[in-house]
């Protein structure tokens, strides 16, 4: 350990999981610290394995995740976050670059069949987790190909289709069955699935309908919703893009639609947004790329009506806005300025105002009675609906969100379904979801500044085979340098996989020196240390992972790390083999 930090001792701190800031910020709690530590040691393959424990889509998230981990990274206080997303993409790509990745099928341990409706990120993650537990899982998908919004709504230049196909092939390899071109509400219903013997159902149909502008002229030719537009492009349908295109909205879908229109040959593409740049929900990085593509941004304007000529769009009439008080979302509310009408001459309008649930396919008893709020009533902790055995999660329950949030919902649903089918309490100990950041770094002045060493290439380089081999080695070196920027500020990398990050020592308490301050119990990431009745720290040797944090943190230096005896090592090997 480099520095000794000070940890506040609270009762609550003893109950919650203590995670490094990056992992705590990730909705799916992907073990960032562990895979970055493995990259430091050049163990790229093991790093992907660690990611796959929590996330079935390392290559997808390495490309399009909004990376809350980087926003939370402790290095932000010093210089710049560790390039976590880029590293994830690199290790996932290197693994695939060296050959096709085929997963070993998991034997079916249980007989209860599980049906999952919707092959988007939430549904596929739930299927992945349940298949790993040993359930026979079937995923039903309406479209011809699985992947949901990842395949149909994220354009090719941000997320290549083969990436989605490969990641889904991995899930299929585990033994998940995916049935495509099956429509929920038409070909299958909750009753029909239950009659077929499915014991639990997870509804993850997402939000498929683009919200309307609700202004006159919306039915003119040349107005197409962003979701439909992106879907049509992904499906390879012929779409005639106008010369001057206006995209309305400020989210990621708006940016994607605008950039797609530009790439399809539109001469001028503008984004009209009713708030200012600061309030845009789109990722700043994406906005910059859009500007580089030559897309114009007009802020503080909202469409009043769409003007047509012979049934086709000719212009959008807009009102100027000013910003008022913050609303419930924390963003400042736009207020129209009277008599500020002005026009933009366009021949295509793409509204991208957000999406909503296709309620017509859902059984009416699932829908919420209240007009306001989400259309589906779902317990946020367990994802249960009011029909027993039916769970719902992902965008359908929360409204449009991100891939990583959908992954988190899928994992949560898998835990609930497993407990439901095993007859366990769905709520017990779910509080472990409560996490708390811990970091030992207190004095930033003592740390050295290091700029980012690795940026992912924006475009794939055209190389000869010999150059490619050398280039790959260079990237690997850069990635290792970048990984070394990680401060390791969390309690323990918790790789827990015998990946020899630590030396296999166990903590030993010198009872004579221990003063019972409890610091060790607080810092222990696996809860292996507790105070006994004498007020002295006691180590549970089976739980101790030998990370050495307690020894580094003990103010009395009463804890030391002892090497295991030969018999103990033999014992560990034998138990590992028996498994």
């Amino acid at each position: 350990m480099l520095l000794k930090g000070w940890v506040y001792l609270t009762e609550k701190a003893l109950q919650v999981r203590k995670l490094p800031p990056c992992r705590a910020a990730c909705p799916a709690h992907v073990n960032v610290q562990a895979y970055v530590a493995l990259i430091q040691r050049g163990k790229f393959k093991e790093a992907v394995e660690v990611i796959r424990k929590d996330l079935p889509f390392p290559a997808i998230c390495g490309r399009v995740c909004f990376s809350p981990c980087e926003d939370a990274c402790a290095r932000v206080n010093l210089d710049q976050a560790v390039a976590i997303r880029a590293l994830k993409r690199l290790v996932a790509d290197i693994e695939r670059e060296q050959g096709r990745v085929v997963a070993q099928p998991v034997p079916k341990k249980y007989s209860e069949k599980v049906a999952i409706i919707g092959a988007g990120p939430a549904g596929l993650t739930a299927a992945y987790e349940l298949a790993k537990l040993g359930y026979p899982v079937t995923v039903f998908e309406r479209m011809d190909e699985p992947g949901g919004m990842m395949r149909y709504c994220i354009p090719d230049f941000r997320l290549e289709k083969f990436v989605v196909s490969n990641e889904i092939a991995y899930i299929k390899d585990l033994g998940v069955e995916i049935k495509t071109s099956v429509e929920f509400g038409k070909d299958i219903t909750i009753e029909s699935l239950k009659n077929e013997g499915y014991k639990a159902i997870f509804i993850a149909i997402g939000t498929q309908i683009g919200l309307k502008l609700n202004v006159p002229g919306e039915d003119l030719e040349g107005v197409i919703n962003a979701v439909d537009f992106l879907k049509a492009v992904a499906l390879g349908r012929k779409i005639t893009v106008g010369e001057r295109v206006a995209v309305i909205g400020g989210g990621n879908t708006a940016i994607d639609a605008a950039r797609t229109a530009k790439k399809l040959g539109a001469k001028e593409v503008m984004i009209l947004y009713r708030r200012s740049r600061e309030e845009m929900p789109a990722l700043p990085h994406e906005v910059e790329l859009a500007e580089k593509d030559g897309i114009k941004f007009y802020f503080l304007v909202a469409p009043k009506r769409i003007i047509g000529e012979n049934g086709r769009v000719k212009a959008v009439e807009c009102l100027r806005m000013r910003l008022g008080e913050p609303d419930e979302s924390g963003r400042r509310r736009p207020i129209p300025i009277a008599f500020s009408e002005h026009q933009y001459d366009v021949d295509m309008v793409i509204p991208a105002l957000g999406q909503t649930v296709e309620t017509s396919v859902l059984p009416p008893e699932l829908l919420s009675k209240e007009k306001r709020g989400p259309p589906l009533q779902v317990d946020p902790l367990t994802l249960e609906t009011n029909i027993p055995g039916v769970f719902a999660g992902g965008d359908v329950a929360t409204g449009p969100a991100s891939i990583i949030e959908a992954v988190a919902a899928g994992k949560r649903a898998a835990v609930s379904i497993h407990r439901y089918l095993r007859g366990e309490d769905l709520r017990k100990d779910r509080e472990e979801e409560a996490v708390e950041e811990t970091t030992w770094v207190k004095d930033w002045r003592l740390l050295e500044k290091k700029e980012r060493r690795y940026e992912p290439p924006i475009e794939k380089p055209h190389l000869s085979f010999e150059e490619a081999r050398a280039y790959l080695e260079k990237l690997k070196r850069q990635a290792r340098f970048e990984a070394f920027r990680c401060l390791g500020c969390g309690p323990c990398a918790e790789c827990l996989a015998g990946m020899d990050l630590c030396e296999g020592d166990k903590a030993v308490v010198d009872e004579g020196k221990c003063v019972g301050c409890n610091v060790c119990a607080v810092v222990c990431p696996v809860g292996a240390i507790k105070k006994n009745e004498k007020g002295v720290a006691q180590v549970n040797e089976d739980a101790c992972k030998g990370c050495g944090l307690c020894a580094a943190r003990c103010p009395e230096q009463a804890i030391s790390m002892k090497k295991l005896s030969n018999e103990q090592i033999l014992d560990m090997v034998l138990t590992a083999l028996a498994r």
């Binding site: 290559a59 290197i94 670059e97 794939k460 490619a468 990237l475």
Partner: protein, 196 residues
């Protein structure tokens, strides 16, 4: 699990290696030595003494095909078209193949000009045409199963068929391509360049 062997080297050799280490290409003596041993083994395998069957295992270079230095092969089909694919050597560098993109049918291509791209997870590799002519057929199977190139680079993994411009220029162009022996030499040379 890889096996571990202890290797001892002479003192004067160590000094030489340390000199090379200073250039920064290798990080440690052991890394240099293991690399050297690997290359030496490969060289031995490629040498004359190895039985033909084992050599083929190492690198399959069918004799009846013609090759370009950019690792594409050419084969004359019964209809008189030229079938084009990539060699086994190329396939070994294309383990992470993701996409095969070629010019569409009817497009004119010139000799040693790119007619398509193989996209892997991290790189793009240009495909160079062995002859000039017009593309008449594209292997549609590669769209869904690009890994066919890895499984059978000289058969199922063919990429396009090109109708040559005229027979006169074709003959000349074919003459300028490499025979299997020449291609084998060229590949060894490339590997050697990597070694330096």
């Amino acid at each position: 699990m890889s096996e571990w062997k202890t290797v001892s080297i002479r003192q004067e050799l160590v000094k030489e290696i340390e000199k090379i280490l200073r250039t920064g290409r290798y990080r440690s003596i052991s890394e240099f030595v293991s690399e050297a041993i690997r290359l030496r083994l490969e060289e031995l395998m490629r040498a004359e003494g190895i039985p033909a069957s084992k050599r083929e295992e190492l690198l399959a270079i069918p004799e009846q095909l013609l090759y370009t230095p950019k690792h594409t092969w050419a084969q004359i089909t019964p209809e008189g078209n030229i079938r084009v694919g990539v060699s086994d050597y190329a396939q070994r560098h294309l383990k992470g193949i993701a996409n095969v993109m070629t010019e569409s049918v009817g497009k004119e291509v010139a000799k040693m000009e790119p007619f398509g791209v193989i996209e892997t997870w991290m790189f793009m590799f240009d495909l160079y045409s062995p002859v000039s002519g017009k593309i008449v057929k594209v292997n549609e199977n590669l769209k869904d199963k690009p890994y066919l190139i890895n499984e059978d680079p000289y058969g199922e993994g063919w990429i396009v068929e090109i109708k040559p411009k005229n027979s006169l220029t074709l003959e000349e162009e074919l003459k300028s391509l490499l025979s299997s022996r020449e291609y084998n030499k060229w590949v060894s040379k490339l590997e050697g360049r990597l070694r330096e």
